[in-house]
């Protein structure tokens, strides 16, 4: 029987936590991010005010989602673009696949888009013989390794230059001798240039959909997003319905805040606005422009008043970077499109609470994610709510439910509780005395397996409490 997502998470977490090379790569990457992020925040006079403004913009957008989406759609269509509403990943993929086949597309260049990862668009197109090139450098690296992105902003951050140089020698150019990042980037550039100029279709995501202007806003640093949306004759935007914002001017805050939270930059190098196919008098640009608005469970989340704000997420990756769990177990361990705290909150809604409820426990509930979220999503409380929701939905194991019923009963009967505590102390003392700590007999084995057993108290907490109170 194949392992469940929860079992795989535990297995992979154990392996990754013990992988010292991986830990060192992540430690260095995160240290570099931390320094840049702090520096970036210092450029903004009032960071808290910026977060509040972004929260307000996203809240207004989500609370009037239908109106703003319709406004966006109307503007795009008026400029000759097409807007397709996809209820789920299958519909979105079928639309893009049929469009590509109708237009005789053989090669697609893609810029980074987490929604296309979520709906597995790349593999659907490849199945019908369309060559798909990931053109973001990090995405290109993980595509060569046949891996999912490790992180939503830096997809290949789990690899060092030596590992990437080896991969490039095998898959890109056997003549590569250097592991200098600029040489590796140059090799990728040479290869991908051919793809940009031969592809018939470019696929991008969107960071924002601007309702009043009817444009998509795409932020990239490398310029691959620019080429994907400029050179091929068809441009398809695949994005979630929650990306809409009310006004063009909102970007005056959202762009700097997204860049600061994502990479520590003041603004992303290319902050692009695209509203349709090329106009008659324009020099270049795609002849066709399509926007695929993907629901895929998002509208269900709207109905959850408690967690609706999860749709405010701007996918900056800040909560991943600060999360002590992510820093130890890494992005792939989550086994989801969106890793880290936002993924742990969102995935049970998109992919099922029963299968992914364990992610709510991939957190120390320290609240660091909430403290850095640029749109002030109360992430760690949503993780707690997901734990409660899973229990209420009966998604917990029967053994767990029995254990909690027994605990509840003991809590309601102090004598039974005291007896239980006494018995446990005695049993554990004997067990640890026999050197059985951390073995399968030890109920504390998950903790004790890699540590010295926790010293057992000689008396119960209640007895100690009574004694201390008495002494005072």
């Amino acid at each position: 029987m194949s392992a469940t997502p929860a079992q795989r998470f535990l297995q992979d977490a154990a392996v990754k936590s013990a992988d010292l090379v991986h830990r060192e790569i992540i430690r260095r990457g995160m240290e570099s991010y931390d320094a840049a992020h702090l520096k970036g925040r210092a450029r903004i006079k009032d960071w808290e005010a910026a977060r509040e403004k972004c929260q307000e913009i996203k809240r207004e957008a989500i609370n009037h989602l239908d109106q703003y989406l319709l406004q966006f759609e109307e503007k795009v269509i008026a400029r000759g673009g097409h807007v397709f509403w996809a209820a789920d990943g299958d519909e979105a993929c079928a639309y893009v696949k049929n469009l590509a086949m109708r237009l005789g597309v053989r090669t697609v260049v893609k810029s980074k888009s987490m929604v296309t990862e979520e709906i597995h668009l790349g593999s659907i197109l490849e199945k019908v013989g369309i060559k798909v090139w990931e053109t973001d450098f990090g995405e290109y690296i993980v595509q060569l390794r046949d891996e999912a992105p490790y992180h939503i902003v830096t997809p290949a951050m789990h690899l060092n230059r030596g590992q990437i140089a080896e991969l490039f020698r095998e898959k890109v150019d056997p003549g590569i001798v250097s592991d200098d990042p600029s040489d590796l980037m140059a090799a990728a550039r040479r290869k991908l240039r051919q793809a940009f100029f031969s592809a018939e279709m470019g696929i991008s995501g969107a960071n924002f959909l601007v309702a009043d202007a009817g444009v998509v806003a795409i932020s990239t640093n490398e310029g691959n997003g620019r080429l994907c949306t400029s050179v091929p004759r068809v441009h398809v935007v695949v994005t979630g319905i929650e990306k809409v914002i009310p006004r063009l001017e909102d970007l005056a805050v959202l762009w700097p805040v997204l860049a600061t939270s994502g990479t520590g930059q003041g603004i992303t190098t290319y902050s692009t606005l695209i509203g349709g196919p090329r106009r008659a008098a324009e020099v270049d640009g795609p002849e066709e422009f399509h926007v695929v608005l993907v629901d895929n469970g998002r509208s269900q989340l709207l109905a959850d008043a408690e967690q609706r704000e999860v749709l405010h997420c701007i996918r900056c990756g800040a909560c991943l970077n600060i999360c002590p769990v992510f820093r130890h177990v890494g992005g792939h361990t989550y086994g989801t499109t969106y890793p880290g705290p936002i993924g742990s909150v969102l995935t049970p809604h998109l992919a099922g609470i029963k299968e992914f409820k364990h992610l709510s426990y991939a957190s120390s509930l320290c609240g660091a994610c909430t403290s850095v979220c640029p749109v002030k999503i109360d992430l760690h409380h949503h993780l707690l709510q997901n734990r409660r929701n899973a229990t209420e939905a009966g998604a917990t194991k029967s053994s767990e439910r029995m254990m909690f019923r027994a605990w509840r009963s003991a809590m309601l009967h102090p004598r039974i509780y005291a007896l239980g505590g006494w018995s446990m102390r005695k049993a554990l003392r004997i067990m640890y005395g026999m050197g059985l700590g951390g073995t399968f007999l030890d109920p504390m084995r998950e903790w004790n397996r890699h540590r010295a057993p926790v010293p057992l108290p000689s008396e119960s907490f209640r007895a100690g409490w009574r004694r201390d109170l008495g002494a005072k």
Binding site: Y33, L69, D136, I141, N224, I267, E282, V283, G285, D295
Partner: protein, 217 residues
Amino acid sequence: MAQSENPSRERILERIRAGLRTGIPNSTVIGSRGEIFEPISNPLQRFQQECIANLMECVLTADCDASARQFSKVLELVPDGEVFVQDDPSLRRLIELAAPLRLIRWSSQGAPSEASQATVTLAEALIAQTGSILVTASCGGRGASVVAPCHIVYATVAQLVPDLANALRSIAQQGTLGRNSFACVISGSSRTADIEKILVQGAHGPRRLVVILQTTN
């Protein structure tokens, strides 16, 4: 798009509306908010500082002749080969003065070729807050600012706006996005830090971004 080609549209909209009917979640009233960004007292100075931070080159010139001299110096470092130039009278004059013998492809002749060594364009505006140039499809097209290894922008100080809010407000009021299918706020050369967070300039776009900034019109 015809309704029959978009069968889920109404269903999604209905789901959204049903979701929103469940009530507005905890919407705490936001108190008095402070100023988010430091006001910019000297836009030119700020623009120059931000250009340095963005690893761009900003060359200040007094008049058209000085711009032509600087432009000529920049082109000296550009390898032989085609230079793509936005077809505009001011740039025709600049090319005539600075690089009369250079192989030029004007934007009126079509999009820049893959082999362009440099592109030369105007900008819609310059943004002091972020050290950015704002270009649209009117500035030589979409590819003009990204295809070649070097992008040279010819602008005047009068085009400077203090911040992003002003720039965005201005393009909204002037209907710039109605006339152009594309606009971009460019803040430096193309770059990546995907390997070990080490900055590499010149990823897929220009390695060099030069702004020749003239103080007079």
